[in-house]
Symmetry: C2
Subunit: 187 residues, 2 copies
DNA sequence: TACCGGTCGTTCAAATTGGAACATCCAGTT
DNA sequence: AACTGGATGTTCCAATTTGAACGACCGGTA
């Protein structure tokens, strides 16, 4: 084994900036979400993920994977959110093991109230400090790093949604309310 | 208040990559540290910070600030690490409120054993996926973001180290053993 | 000297986390 | 049909984290 490839100054700066910025940012976000909506960061993320998932629902495992959280942790949080009436559990007839977390209307409403402030804060604290090139570098570089860590070779089709939500009240596959897109025309 | 400046696609990618990469990376790092050295991520950071602090010591508040952790959390961890004999507390005569966390020899030795693998992992999972330009963008962009969040206007002198460690065994201000620097000559 | 606003580190209770053990279930094999 | 290797989600429990409350202390001021 070689003698450890230490980080050069630039890399040290990058690493330090990366961890530091994340910690600072996440802390601020959590505080505000908690103060304004009684939500933890994880809970907001859960709402958000479910919010723009196909039928506002995702399997526990998928959700846990997407959030990079432990299964048990998710079980706990979904439990909490269920008590609050933001989320509901649904089991799938075709696969008895599966459990779907479904976003309730109350949860969706909450998400819609919380999202603007959240996005605004992220923009203010992060994107307002970045040049367009830096944004691209983040997206590309960290995107690639993330991809490598998840082990995504050839885009093996997800196969999810075997057990589609069928008969249920009225709403079927409404469009995702929070996915507006505001062109902010690049030069 | 304007109608929320939502994120464009590129920004969404960047944000998602940022949080995702961080979560993935941190999780891996924690697992390895725990497995190989029985250390948590936070504990490693504490060792590292103390390791290249002036006299291998830092005030509790400084440390907490640098780590972006709560005071109480740090109190707890330092307590744990003290039990393990990696760290020691020292109080300062000139300011009775202050408490310094001092890195013990055992802690330093542990740090020196853990650092290579840690750095190697960071390089492998993060830097190997980044181009030099991307590294620079991270360092600059996130550095700036972090600076803004900490509120660092005119580099107000830290004033720290009022109560310098004086009489103590032998070692005074030895050079920081872990701060080797390996030129990795840019083209 | 006595007082005051502010800082420091610790304590406390309550909430969260994460891994291991567990019971169930699915798909492919024998 | 019985068996096996792998997933799934939950439960359990110990470790950790958080913010608020607290007591001690500092520096400047009346």
């Amino acid at each position: 084994m070689g003698h450890t490839r230490w980080l050069n100054e630039e890399e040290k700066r990058a690493w330090s900036a990366f961890t530091n910025a994340h910690a600072l940012l996440y802390r601020r976000i959590e505080q505000r979400l908690k103060r304004d909506f009684g939500l933890s960061g994880l809970q907001y993320e859960i709402l958000a993920r479910l919010g723009d998932a196909p039928n506002r629902e995702l399997r526990m495992a998928e959700l846990a994977g997407a959030l990079v959280n432990s299964k048990s942790g998710l079980t706990y949080q979904i439990g909490q959110m269920e008590k609050s009436g933001w989320v509901r559990r649904r089991s799938c007839p075709s696969d008895e093991r599966a459990v779907y977390a479904v976003l309730d209307d109350a949860g969706m409403a909450l998400l819609e109230r919380a999202a603007p402030g959240h996005v605004e804060l992220v923009r203010e604290l992060l994107f307002d400090a970045l040049s367009p090139e830096q944004v691209r570098a983040l997206a590309d570089g960290l995107g690639e790093a993330g991809r490598r860590m998840t082990g995504v070779p050839g885009e093996a089709d997800p196969v999810r949604g075997d057990c589609a939500a069928s008969a249920e009240g009225g709403v079927a596959a409404a469009d995702h309310p929070l996915s507006r897109r505001e062109h902010q025309g690049p030069p």
